[in-house]
């Protein structure tokens, strides 16, 4: 039981938080574990090597159930408490601060990239264009795209790291990331 919790707790927490937001996260994680453990005890998991897939199915069903409940609640209680089921999608204050700090450094690093490298990053991350569209419009093969994107990111990261090091924030971020 302890091993099971140790193995899956972080992944389940991450998955639920990503799908449903941070509200009542611990309760949701606990509920999911209860379902998994009870199912195992009942012998519902017939092939133990399928445990990972089984846990995934349970988590997905939990997410679906929470969403359905939220939709139902919203429909039933719309007049009384609008917004009760609206999940807070924002990051926590620490993450928010980290993102802003990194973004400031990245801004200056972006200026040092070539136009093509920057264009690839803008199209992929900002305009959320699919890879095929970027390749077509920029006359690139898939391999070229992958290579250019990873190079641009590497260059971007390298410049960012230099800026971080010079601003003395590197150690702070390393500590925060670890």
């Amino acid at each position: 039981m302890e091993q099971l919790y140790k193995l899956f707790s972080r992944g389940i927490r991450y998955y639920l938080c990503r799908q449903l937001g941070p509200q009542e996260l611990e309760d949701k994680v606990h509920d999911t574990f209860l379902i998994v453990v009870n199912a195992i005890r009942r012998g519902d998991l017939r092939e133990p090597e399928r445990l990972m897939g089984f846990v995934r199915t349970v988590v997905r069903r939990q997410v679906a159930a929470y969403i359905e409940h939220a939709v139902h609640t919203r429909r039933e209680q719309a007049e009384l408490e609008t917004g009760i089921s609206v999940a807070d999608r924002t990051q926590n204050p620490e993450q928010e601060a980290m993102v802003k700090q990194k973004a400031e450094l990245m801004k200056s690093a972006l200026g040092a990239l070539s136009k093509r490298d920057r264009d690839i990053l803008v199209r992929f991350y900002l305009k959320e264009q699919p890879q095929e569209q970027i390749c077509r419009e920029m006359s690139l093969t898939e391999t070229q795209f992958r290579l250019l994107k990873s190079r641009a990111k590497a260059k971007f990261g390298e410049i960012g790291k230099k800026k971080l090091a010079s601003s003395g924030l590197f150690s702070v971020l390393v500590r925060a990331n670890s």
């Binding site: 193995l7 899956f8 972080r10 992944g11 389940i12 991450y14 998955y15 990972m52 897939g53 846990v55 995934r56 988590v59 997905r60 990051q91 993450q95 980290m98 993102v99 802003k100 990194k102 973004a103 400031e104 450094l105 990245m106 801004k107 690093a109 972006l110 200026g111 920057r118 990053l121 803008v122 991350y125 900002l126 959320e128 699919p130 992958r146 971007f156 990331n177």
Partner: protein, 219 residues
């Protein structure tokens, strides 16, 4: 668990990654960006639920991607601002060459020219020696006459300007120093020949010198 690159065969020998292989960073990035296909999603989700290191990578990727997007948004906004601010500047210069502006500019220049013409006195020097040369004073302009004669006494003198027929046009005083008397003439509004005369100050009113000049319109 081990890292499996996208095209690398897994431990069972086929090209399909299993739940036990770490997905490549590209795949994890697609997962964060919600761009995984159904098959890929199944593999990543199943693996990630039991892999702390991949969850850690995903969390870092989320921060990285959010920061990248934020920075790209800032840069894109700055570029947009530059384009927008460059456009009005162009329009500003172009607006100088519109018909109303040019008309006003022309009117302004004309007003300046008129002021110059009307209020700045024209400097004219007259010599007492008679000759064939005629000195012209511009019509409709104030003029400052320098009347040069070596025999002029220093001090205040009486001055007169008379027309060709001898009628008085202007009279006043002029100050003479070192054989040169200066007098400020009002606007001469009629063309023709005129004479500037200098007399001694006082009751005797003795003619000292006479200078001939023409009044003509000229710019």
């Amino acid at each position: 668990m081990r890292e499996l690159h996208e095209q690398e065969p897994n431990s069972s020998g086929n090209m399909q990654p299993t739940y036990f292989d770490h997905p490549a960073v590209d795949v994890l990035e697609r997962f964060v960006l919600h761009r995984c296909s159904e098959d890929e999603l199944e593999i990543v989700e199943t693996h990630m639920l039991a892999c702390e290191s991949c969850v850690c990578t995903l969390e870092n990727l989320e921060v990285e991607i959010a920061a990248t997007k934020l920075a790209l948004e800032h840069v894109a906004a700055q570029q947009q601002e530059k384009v927008v601010s460059a456009e009005p500047r162009k329009q500003f210069w172009r607006s100088w060459f519109s018909v109303p502006t040019l008309s006003w500019a022309g009117a302004g220049l004309a007003a300046c020219a008129f002021c110059l013409f009307a209020f700045v006195p024209a400097g004219v020097q007259l010599q007492s020696e008679r000759g064939t040369a005629t000195v012209t004073v511009p019509e409709w302009r104030n003029a400052r006459l320098s009347l040069v004669d070596a025999g002029l006494p220093a001090g205040s003198l009486q001055a007169e300007v008379v027309s060709e027929t001898g009628s008085l046009v202007w009279s006043g005083t002029a100050t003479s120093t070192q054989g040169e008397a200066k007098l400020d003439l009002p606007r001469m509004t009629h063309p023709g020949t005129y004479f500037a005369r200098l007399y001694t100050a006082g009751a005797e009113h003795e003619l000292l010198a006479e200078f001939r000049f023409e009044v003509k319109f000229k710019l």
